[in-house]
Symmetry: C2
Subunit: 295 residues, 2 copies
């Protein structure tokens, strides 16, 4: 079978053999935003045509390709959800002689009844949940929209999104803080100060102004401001997520640079961290395929 993680900015495809072993893979820009109206079949053929010609007939797609802006919308599936529920909610697409199915995103509601959504992360999370076994766990996937998920018995029980990465970009580039900060390498000590600041009272909106006043008072240098601000926002995310989940240990899934920042920030919050290889999509697609009796 073929598994594809087709997101906003990239397409990653995996040819999966017995037991879910990845026998071939490709990774290209071609995200869904580059696909013209009605162009998804052609774009998919162009990406994995050679594998199809070699006889593959089952293709499982996850990611934003199943969103309203994608090929066909695969409606959000309500948590708790694991491979069985996700497999049952996949959406079939007619495609030449092959069988294509779209993995749905997940939805949940927080304690106040406000909805949350994910699309793409669910596939990684069920792979992680499978590795972790039946015991419950809290997973953190940092990013533009960071996800915190509670995993229970191989399923995503509930989750929360924090708009941390996007808020960091918007605030660091479009407020008075942009004037007193400069691009440059991470400054770990400044990052740690930001994380510690997030644990103090006053609120994020007050803490943001403090990044300016610390600079005015010669207590934060221009080359430290971005790292301080990054620590501040990540620290606020962690403080809120830990308060909500009660996590004392977090399963951290993310690309090296950002995951290292989160690992440090979590440690500063007294949370134990286990890091996981973020390359989980192929395994997650295999779990769904197994539930579809494809594997």
């Amino acid at each position: 079978m073929i598994g594809v993680d087709w997101g906003t900015t990239s397409l990653r495809a995996y040819r999966l053999g017995a037991g879910g072993a990845v026998t071939d893979r490709l990774d290209r820009p071609g995200g869904i935003l580059t696909v013209p109206e009605g162009g998804f079949p052609a774009a998919l053929r162009e990406a994995i045509g050679a594998w199809l010609a070699a006889g593959e007939t089952r293709i499982l797609l996850c990611g934003m390709v199943g969103s309203r802006q994608g090929w066909v919308e695969a409606p959000y599936l309500r948590c708790p959800a694991g491979p069985e529920e996700i497999a049952a909610a996949t959406v079939a697409i007619p495609f030449d002689g092959a069988e294509i199915r779209l993995v749905p995103g997940l939805t949940t509601e927080d304690a106040s009844g406000v909805p949350d959504v994910m699309r793409g992360e669910e596939t990684k999370l069920i792979a992680l949940a499978d590795r972790l076994g039946a015991a419950g766990a809290i997973a953190c996937m940092p990013g533009t929209h960071s996800k915190w998920a509670r995993l229970e018995a191989g399923r995503v029980a509930t989750f929360t999104t924090h708009m941390t990465g996007e808020a960091f970009a918007a605030i660091s580039q479009n407020t008075i803080l942009a004037r007193t900060s400069i691009e440059g390498p991470d400054v770990p000590a400044a990052f740690a100060r930001g994380v510690e600041r997030a644990r103090q009272p006053g609120g994020l909106l007050h803490h943001l102004f403090g990044a300016r006043t610390l600079h005015l008072m010669d207590r934060l240098r221009q080359e430290e401001t971005r790292s301080y601000l990054s620590g501040l926002l990540i620290g606020h995310e962690i403080a809120a997520a830990v308060a909500e989940t009660g996590a004392t240990q977090v399963e951290l899934v993310g690309a090296e640079g950002l995951a290292s920042l989160y690992a440090e920030a979590l440690a500063l919050h007294g949370v134990a961290v286990r890091r996981h290889d973020p390359d989980l999509v192929a395994a997650g697609l295999h779990h769904v395929a197994r539930s579809l009796r494809w594997a």
Copy 2:
């Protein structure tokens, strides 16, 4: 005497008679950002030359004109500070035959030792403090950088800044929320929902993403998103400030539109509000002048 509030984007001048009565005033764009290097004397003469020709010799300036980017830097004065302390810390500038003095901004530190600053607001606050008398009060001045000040015995005892207006602009225009919101009139019910949301757990960064998911789930319309987001940010500011100050009543000083939003949000937080005419600068300058024995 002449009082001038010379800020980043505007210049407001007052001719003050006996007892601080405003006998003439002018209000023009000409903020300090429009003044070329070394151009402050000429710009001031151009603005108030007629009053100088009529015999005025004492000029008191407040606002960003006393900042590092202004005419001459008037160093921040440490709180608590009232008219006496501020008068004693004014900075004199040679100016033809006249006596010019610059009102300093104020600085304080929050409970965690992080500095805060204001410049311009101190002049309004001492006028407000004078009106309120000796009893303590909590004042809120909403804006790009909202100020919350504790007033005691006619002085500014301490204060806190929240980067609310600027964060709202940066986030509403430069994140995924910009895509699902449209400009339009305020929607009071959506604003109130945002304020209520800020009282729920989860943290601001999670609440921001909720503005997107509510729209995705058809529970927040495009024309409501800006008001919801405004309520969310103002609500977070108020929640943090009320937690910090313990305020049960707030003296609210701001321009009509924004002050009305804050009044509503404060009421939703169960805080009593008294609104004050925001046109306080002339009175504040008069109080400083009195302490200078100019009036």
